[in-house]
């Protein structure tokens, strides 16, 4: 669909606002839970907001709708981000976000498809989501469905060998209904990805595996939308969006800090963070 300049501008303004609200929900639920992955949820917030509130065709009142676009959170530790967009889309009541990581909650520490509508597949063990996405994309092609599969990976995650097995499979079977997105925030638990084990040259790796590669600033809403639209026009091969992001994006004192990979904000930090987000219009 062609967007007129003004329509696109309106979309971008709306999505920027939504992304801010998503970040607020993430921070609030993490603080209440007292544990969870802050940095990687915030780094991918703009991308996932663009998917759920603009790009993807989905029906929150009918999560099993056959023709829906699928989103696979391969970096399952960004569960708070997925929960925020699902709740805000209307898959479940937003008050459930308060139960994150509690006993009996459908909001497990990592997403569980058996207990939460809208979660396509349980993830948390890294490196498996792209293969699952391939299987879905193959199945959808067999059924001549026009829908697309989006798979979000972390940059540390692509150290998993299975990702490259899957990358080979997607190119071999020409899965052009698949779009992978790598959230390149540059940090993993033990430190900078470049120091733990470098993934560079990352774009030529994907290219060598037969993928169409798009590189963007993962916090620029115009670039995100252009990349998602651009990927859809590429036929005969899968696309990957390499989204360069900042871990902890949106809260200055979390940004680029490896310490906040798997730590929740304190009440004090939350208050400070919310003030900062509100001020940043």
């Amino acid at each position: 669909m062609e967007h007129t300049g003004t329509q696109r501008e309106r979309d971008v303004t709306f999505l920027k606002r939504q992304a801010k609200l998503v970040r607020i929900e993430i921070l609030k639920m993490l603080t209440l839970a007292g544990s969870g992955h802050t940095g990687g949820s915030l780094s991918a917030a703009d991308i996932v907001t663009a998917l759920y509130f603009s790009k993807m065709r989905h029906r929150p009142d009918n999560p099993g709708w056959r023709e829906r676009d699928r989103f696979i959170l391969s970096k399952g530790h960004a569960a708070p981000l997925l929960y925020a967009v699902l709740a805000m889309s209307g898959y479940f009541d937003i008050s459930i976000l308060k139960t994150l990581r509690r006993l009996g909650s459908p909001l497990q520490g990592h997403p569980c498809s058996r207990v939460l509508p809208g979660v396509e597949i349980s993830t948390g063990s890294l490196g498996q989501g792209l293969s699952v996405s391939n299987g879905m994309a193959i199945g959808m092609k067999m059924d001549n469905l026009n829908a697309r599969v989006y798979c979000l990976l972390g940059d540390g995650e692509i150290q998993e060998g299975q990702v490259w097995e899957a990358a080979m499979t997607a190119a071999h079977y020409k899965l052009d209904n698949l779009c992978a997105i790598v959230d390149i925030n540059g940090l993993q638990i033990d430190g900078p990805v470049s120091q733990v084990k470098t993934i560079e040259p990352v774009s030529s790796k994907w290219r060598a595996f037969g993928w169409n590669v798009i590189e963007i600033n993962g916090h620029n809403m115009e670039e995100i939308l252009d990349a998602l639209d651009g990927a859809e026009t590429i036929k005969g091969k899968p696309s990957v969006i390499l989204a360069y992001t900042i871990k902890g994006k949106g809260v200055s004192f979390f940004e680029g800090k490896v310490e906040y990979h798997g730590v929740a904000p304190t009440q004090k930090e939350l208050e400070k963070a919310l003030k900062e987000l509100e001020a940043n219009e």
Partner: protein
């Protein structure tokens, strides 16, 4: 016993993997939702037959078992009925965590049908002989485990699991096995088949060891020992009703499997009986060792998996 012998005479020995290849092909004709995946071993697992007939529903994922398992998961999520096959050790060992995290945790309708279980893989040696696969699958919630005894049972198993919703692991063999199941046998998930109930002992066996157990039972009967034989083809969920029934009416239970004595059929039977009806029990299987190269016959002898080994074990245990 006479029923068994007549069945064996009528039908030739066929490897369960060959029966799988045929059954899958037949199933593919009937059901459009069947999709088959393999990891570069379709000639050996016999999925190649399906691949030839239905190239549009066959996906070779190459030598990438972890990717194959998760791709099968994605196909199941798209409403397909995927059968994913490779050798048992690679299917359950290489991709164990994928089976745990993506298939069993989400209770997906994926059928894992592996061939080359046990030491009768033969000359390829320990690297290719799965002797831990049943143990690896048994610990997974939602998993059903089936080890057919012959070609006749294999065909029925493949049809039965297609109609069952949920993850299933089927373990098949490379070598030919004698036909043991009667013509009128009807496989049902979770139901053991009792050839006959023994007063002295009962041998609970799976896979190729069912025919070995029948042979042992025959030898023992000539010596005045009544040893019954039960085909416990569904290892999980275990048919505890049948097991309890025979345990209550005999002195000894012997498990027989082409697998480690740890964690497989022997483990399952021991766990159940020790809690519910403590019974004198012996386990026939690999005793905490790896396999090695050799012919099937040589290896079965080396690891104590022959009828004579069962006979000796039963006689010694009954003496005590």
């Amino acid at each position: 016993m006479s029923k068994v012998q007549s069945a064996a005479v009528k039908r030739e020995a066929i490897a369960t993997r060959d029966a799988y290849g045929e059954a899958l092909l037949e199933l593919g004709k009937k059901r459009q939702d069947i999709v088959v995946l393999d990891a570069d071993l379709s000639g050996s697992t016999k999925t190649g037959k399906f691949a030839k007939a239905f190239p549009d529903r066959f996906y070779n994922i190459g030598i990438a078992e972890q990717d194959m398992i998760c791709t099968a998961a994605g196909l199941a999520l798209s409403g397909k009925l995927p059968f994913a096959s490779t050798f048992a050790i690679f299917e359950t060992g290489r991709a164990w965590e994928q089976i745990r995290q993506t298939i069993c945790y989400s209770n997906l309708n994926v059928k894992l049908v592996a061939t080359h279980g046990g030491v009768t893989v033969g000359e390829d040696g320990a690297s290719h002989q799965a002797t831990e696969d049943i143990a690896l699958m048994r610990v997974l919630p939602n998993m059903t485990i089936i080890v057919p005894a012959d070609a006749h049972e294999t065909r029925q198993v493949i049809n039965a699991i297609a109609d069952y919703h949920g993850p299933v692991y089927v373990r098949l063999g490379r070598s030919k096995v004698p036909a043991v199941m009667p013509d009128d046998y009807e496989f049902k998930i979770g139901r053991a088949y009792t050839f006959h109930k023994g007063r002295d002992a009962n041998i609970v066996a799976i896979g190729i060891m069912v025919s070995t157990a029948l042979e042992a039972s025959k030898i023992l009967s000539q010596e005045g020992i009544d040893a019954g034989v039960i085909n416990m083809s569904t290892v999980k969920p275990l048919d505890t009703e049948t097991l309890l029934d025979v345990a209550k009416t005999c002195k000894l239970i012997v498990t027989a499997e082409e697998h480690s004595i740890i964690g497989g059929l022997g483990g399952a039977v021991s766990e159940f009986l020790s809690e519910n009806h403590p019974t004198c029990l012996r386990r026939i299987g690999l005793k905490n060792v790896f396999g090695c190269s050799g012919t099937s016959e040589e290896l079965l002898k080396l690891y104590g998996l022959t009828a004579d080994d069962i006979v000796r074990t039963i006689k010694e245990a009954l003496k005590q």
